[in-house]
Amino acid sequence: MKTQYNKRKGGYSAELASNILDRSLDQPMFTIDSSKGLQICGESTPLVDIKKLITPIPRIEPFSVGDGIIIEGTTVPYSEILIKNKGIEYKGQADDKGIFKIPLKEVTKEDAFEILVTAPNNGSISYSQSESIKVGPTPVYSEEEMGIKAEGTFSDSTKVESGHLTDDSVDQLSRLAEISGKTTVVTLGSFVPLKVGSDKAQSYDQTGFRAGNTFFSMGSKGWNAIVKKLNEAGIVDPDEVNDEMWRINQRFLDNQIRQGKSFEFTTDPKTLDERSFGKMEYDYLKEMKYNLDNSNGKWVMNN
């Protein structure tokens, strides 16, 4: 038994469909013979026109100087990644979402990493290697450079009554922790500490400062100064300390909401640790009728 398939009858995949539009409507595309299996008609003419494309240049996330740094980026799913620096080659592969993470031994401020990407062929597109791009580490700004207040100012403004920060103290501390930018955007997200194996450049405070956005930061010294005063006032359980610290964070958000600002997370807030301040910020903004919009690749919350 022999069956002929053509465009009118359907029965072929959507992938093939886009490649056969130029053919005559009545020309059989292929035949199926029970004894010989599938046979392509007119073998001298390729059924599928292979498009040749150069792999697009990948998007690379900022990374900083240090040991154990990971270069993260986004490209075509399952692409092969090649990174070259000082004669050393690092290789990796993007996942099904096109995200890749390639660990580097160390990054110095003089380094410039050449990045080349080759997307996989998919039957209708043949990719060649991307154009070469060179990327270097993003500067990491100190707390002083970012304008974070001195620890003494946080300590002096910490007043506890009846086991809680006073409302005035919450207000003062929230304003001290506000680093105002020129834009109408507030940067939120994960805080990345400055230590081996961390990529400080991706921290929300560094991202916010680079973008000229507003962000919340008392620095670790300021944070510790407040915690010390809370401990001295008998607030020692971590959950109770965090409750008081959250009141400051929440007041900061209230101040930004009143100013009509929008909020931008450095990472997908839906995947933040369930008990992190970033997750609490996300939940609070949802309570305040803000909606998450990821349409431009960023995690923006507007109301």
């Binding site: 805080f191 194996g197 510790n224 915690v227 971590p238 965090n242 369930e274 008990r275 992190s276």
Partner: protein
């Protein structure tokens, strides 16, 4: 990574959490499906971790310790706090298993427990687990 995993397994938070699971469910009545160790290499004392546990009546519960190590911004430090997150469809939040779920306190609207409970406070750790068991027993 193995170095971080070893540090976590030796930490007080890990031991307390495992003891609580044994106490409330029995040693052989739960299965740990997935771990995520969140610390840094080297001398860093951060022993944060999360794990996905399949319980007899509820699969995919997240148990973990957070906020351990050095005190720094958003981190009280020390032995850290235990947290539980439960699978629920009424959320857009995603657990490390990739399934939808949310913090126990948020899911049950118990804001007092939003940050979990400090590892060192045995009485409160039991109180927190009792809240979870009350939820679990009604499933």
């Amino acid at each position: 990574m193995i170095e971080i995993e070893e540090k976590v397994r030796e930490s007080k938070g890990f031991k307390v959490l495992m003891a609580m699971l044994d106490e409330y469910f029995g040693k052989n009545n739960y299965q740990i499906r997935q771990y995520q160790f969140e610390g840094y290499s080297g001398d860093d004392p951060n022993v944060d971790f999360r794990m996905i546990v399949d319980l007899p009546k509820l699969k995919g519960v997240s148990f973990g310790v957070g906020g351990s190590g050095n005190s720094e911004m958003f981190r009280v430090g020390g032995t850290g706090s235990i947290g539980i997150a439960i699978p629920t469809k009424n959320t857009d939040h995603i657990l490390i298993s990739g399934e939808h779920g949310d913090g126990l306190a948020y899911a049950l609207n118990l804001k007092k427990w939003y940050f979990g409970v400090g590892v060192e406070n045995t009485e409160k750790v039991h109180e927190y687990f009792d809240i979870f068991m009350n939820y679990y027993n009604k499933i």
